[in-house]
Amino acid sequence: MRVVLLLVAVAALGLSACGEKEQVVVYKQGKYQGKPDNQSWSNDPLPAEYRGGTWTKGDRSSWEESIKKRQMTQNEYRRIGQ
């Protein structure tokens, strides 16, 4: 009985290292799953001479809109003539 219990304990301990963490985005108090980082839209936009995007600080949708505009410059069928 003791041997069986020991084997179960060893197996449980050994397999505990095989777990896989879920790859979900968790952002809490300036940290992503414990790693300190902040979100792109939480910054102020750069001054105009640096030709960055323009968005409202802290507003995710305005940052996404700005980056989307920039992405569309990769489409030469739309870009030419603008």
Binding site: Q33, G34, D37, N38, S40, Y50, S66, I67, Q74, N75
Partner: protein, 213 residues
């Protein structure tokens, strides 16, 4: 919600290495570390030889994240896979797990001593204050926090390399394929994002016949 992805159009890549140079310059990547590189597929096969630009694809279900023994990876709200160099022990597991060979290890000293892993950050920096000196030294420029796209994609002269929200770049690619009527195969897209080739990039339809020969 933006999900940042890379897409390389093998029909357009001319192997100029502009993306590699842009990345090296923008992030001041040291010698021996190549966050991005251009590889040739079907090398030597006449008519089938293509070039593609490869780096970390920021996979939807990233194998590097799954195998890291110290759990140094994380995914941002934009879908960018980043890692914390303060936690990385340079074990190299992520290198073996990555289907794109993206993780790079600087040779930090004699006897093959390996440094901490370095990889493409989608120009999104890392776990340091955004646009700070510390972030630049460890991870490179944070262009996303400047409202810009990765330097490699923005510098690509033929626009073979597209970077940005998956939906937007897939739309650009779809339009391109329909106009040219060929070359719908996407290298690495299904491995990275779990989508069958053709599910997001339609097969071009033959042009309607006019009845004239």
């Amino acid at each position: 919600m933006a999900r940042m992805k890379f897409l390389c159009d093998a029909e357009r890549c001319i192997e100029c290495n502009g993306c590699v140079t842009a990345c090296k310059n923008e992030n001041e990547v040291p010698w021996g570390v190549n966050r991005r590189r251009v590889v040739t597929i079907n090398d030597g096969v006449v008519g089938a030889e293509k070039s593609i630009s490869v780096a970390c694809m920021h996979c939807s279900d990233a194998p590097c994240m799954a195998v890291c023994p110290v759990d140094c990876f994380y995914r941002t709200d934009d879908g960018v896979v980043l890692h914390d160099k303060d936690l990385c022990i340079g074990c190299g597991y992520c290198f073996y797990a990555c289907p794109f060979g993206a993780p790079q290890f600087p040779q930090a000293g004699a006897f093959g001593l390996r440094g901490k892993m370095d990889k493409c950050t989608f120009c999104a920096g890392g776990p340091e204050p955004d646009r700070s000196e510390a972030e630049f030294r460890k991870y490179g420029r944070n262009r996303l926090a400047e409202g810009k796209l990765p330097a490699c994609a923005e510098m690509c002269s033929t626009k073979a390399l597209l970077g940005g929200d998956g939906d937007v770049i897939a739309d650009i690619y779809r339009e391109r394929v329909l106009r040219r009527g060929r070359g719908a195969d996407l290298w690495g897209w299904s491995s990275a994002y779990g989508v069958r080739p053709g599910a997001q990039t339609p097969t071009p339809q033959p042009a309607p016949t006019t009845g004239k020969s």
